[in-house]
């Protein structure tokens, strides 16, 4: 039972990597992976919220009464989401525009609340931090992978995060497979990636 902090961290990277293993938090995964930049940005924002809320909830876990815990968790999470929202507006405004409604919606991302409920509310600060960071990085990795796949094949470009520069990957004769950047393509890509993950085996 006693897992080390390192284990708590690494499980998020493979064994419990969201959204592939824990099929949660799908909406942002589908919506913001059109370009690599968006994917990475969303991942980092979520990771920030995840880590902060995990820490805080873990600290407060003995103060919060059981029957209003969800409401309290939500307040904590929402607070950090707004922090992210404000900070992003101030320092990465173009990205904020692209991610749009999905930044405030981090608050209802099942992963964040799920970790708060399932992990942080039961464990100490250090493991909660490790757990949050691991899951967050795992989430970011998944988003990145999916967005690379979608952008490179779907638009033929690669948008470098932060700099917002789109680099064409293929020659001019390449006919981008636009389907992948459309909504249905997002579903199909994610479905197929899940399949690949299943084939690679659990744990």
């Amino acid at each position: 039972m006693a897992k080390t902090v390192v284990q708590e961290f690494t499980k998020g990277l493979w064994a419990e990597i969201p959204p592939f293993r824990l099929v949660l938090g799908l909406c942002p995964v589908l919506a913001v992976t059109k370009t690599v930049e968006n994917g990475v940005g969303m991942g980092i924002a979520t990771t920030f919220v995840l880590v902060c809320s995990n820490i805080l909830i873990s600290l407060l876990r003995n103060v919060i009464p059981k029957n209003v815990r969800i409401a309290c968790f939500i307040v904590v999470i929402a607070t950090f989401v707004i922090v992210v929202e404000l900070v992003m507006q101030a320092f990465a405004y173009p990205l904020f525009l692209k991610l749009g409604i999905f930044i405030p919606l981090i608050v209802v991302n099942c992963i964040v609340l799920g970790r708060a409920e399932a992990f942080a509310a039961k464990n100490g600060v250090v493991s909660s931090f490790a757990d949050g960071l691991g899951i967050g990085i795992g989430f970011t990795l998944s988003l990145t992978a999916l967005s690379i796949f979608r952008e490179v094949l779907g638009s033929g470009t690669f948008t470098i995060p932060i700099s917002s520069v789109s680099v064409p990957v293929f020659g001019p004769s390449f006919q981008p497979f636009n389907f992948l950047v459309e909504a249905p393509g997002a579903f199909v890509c994610l479905g197929l990636m899940l399949c690949v993950m299943n084939m690679l085996g659990k744990k």
């Binding site: 919060i64 209003v68 309290c72 307040v75 904590v76 607070t79 922090v83 404000l86 101030a90 320092f91």
Partner: protein, 194 residues
């Protein structure tokens, strides 16, 4: 009963603390956010429609209260004269409001140019209002006092095919700006001179 009070208190405290905390963050970032919004949302459009001006309209801006709404005006200097103002107004589009920036020559009341700033129109159709100049270029050189309507409604602005509502929204925004302009022209002149 005690349980209830405890429950109530916790939620209350949590809300208050987080409200306060966020207010602090907010006040710390407010300035920067405003500038960022200008720079990325309106900045490119303003630059585009005021091509050739010799100052930075973004920093040359002032605000006027229009009723309970605050409107920002950007001043453009052409040929050494601060003769052009640009400001934003909104029209109803298909997927929500369409923001249109319109630059007007204060002397002639002639439209220097318009540009779509924000919209949430269907990609590929309504979104062409922003990406393609077909629609916005039609306004260039017209007087702001003209009645703007799309052809479908009996006007002379050709709408983008497949995006009538969007085109209608853009026209609506221009019409709105005309009324704003009319209402506030005196204040604008005052401010420019100041």
């Amino acid at each position: 009963m005690r349980e209830m009070i405890r429950l109530f208190l916790v939620i209350f405290l949590f809300s208050c603390v987080s409200g306060g905390l966020l207010a602090v963050v907010r006040s710390g970032t407010q300035e920067r956010i405003e500038y960022q919004q200008l720079k990325f949302v309106k900045g490119p459009t303003i630059k585009e429609i005021m091509e050739g001006c010799s100052n930075d309209p973004l920093s040359d801006r002032f605000k006027i209260m229009d009723g309970d709404k605050e409107i920002s005006f950007f001043v453009g200097e052409f040929d050494g004269k601060r003769s052009v103002v640009a400001f934003e107004s909104f029209g109803k589009g298909f997927g929500g409001d369409i923001g249109v920036i319109i630059a007007v020559n204060l002397e002639t009341d002639e439209i220097i140019g318009i540009g779509v700033t924000t919209h949430s129109e269907t990609p590929g159709l309504g979104s062409r209002a922003k990406s393609e100049p077909d629609l916005s270029s039609q306004f260039k050189g017209l007087s702001i006092k003209d009645p703007f309507k799309v052809t479908a409604d009996g006007g002379k602005i050709d709408s983008i095919s497949g995006a009538t509502i969007t085109s209608r929204g853009v026209c609506g925004a221009v019409v709105t700006s005309a009324s704003i302009y009319e209402r506030l022209k005196n204040d604008i002149l005052k401010k420019i001179k100041a």
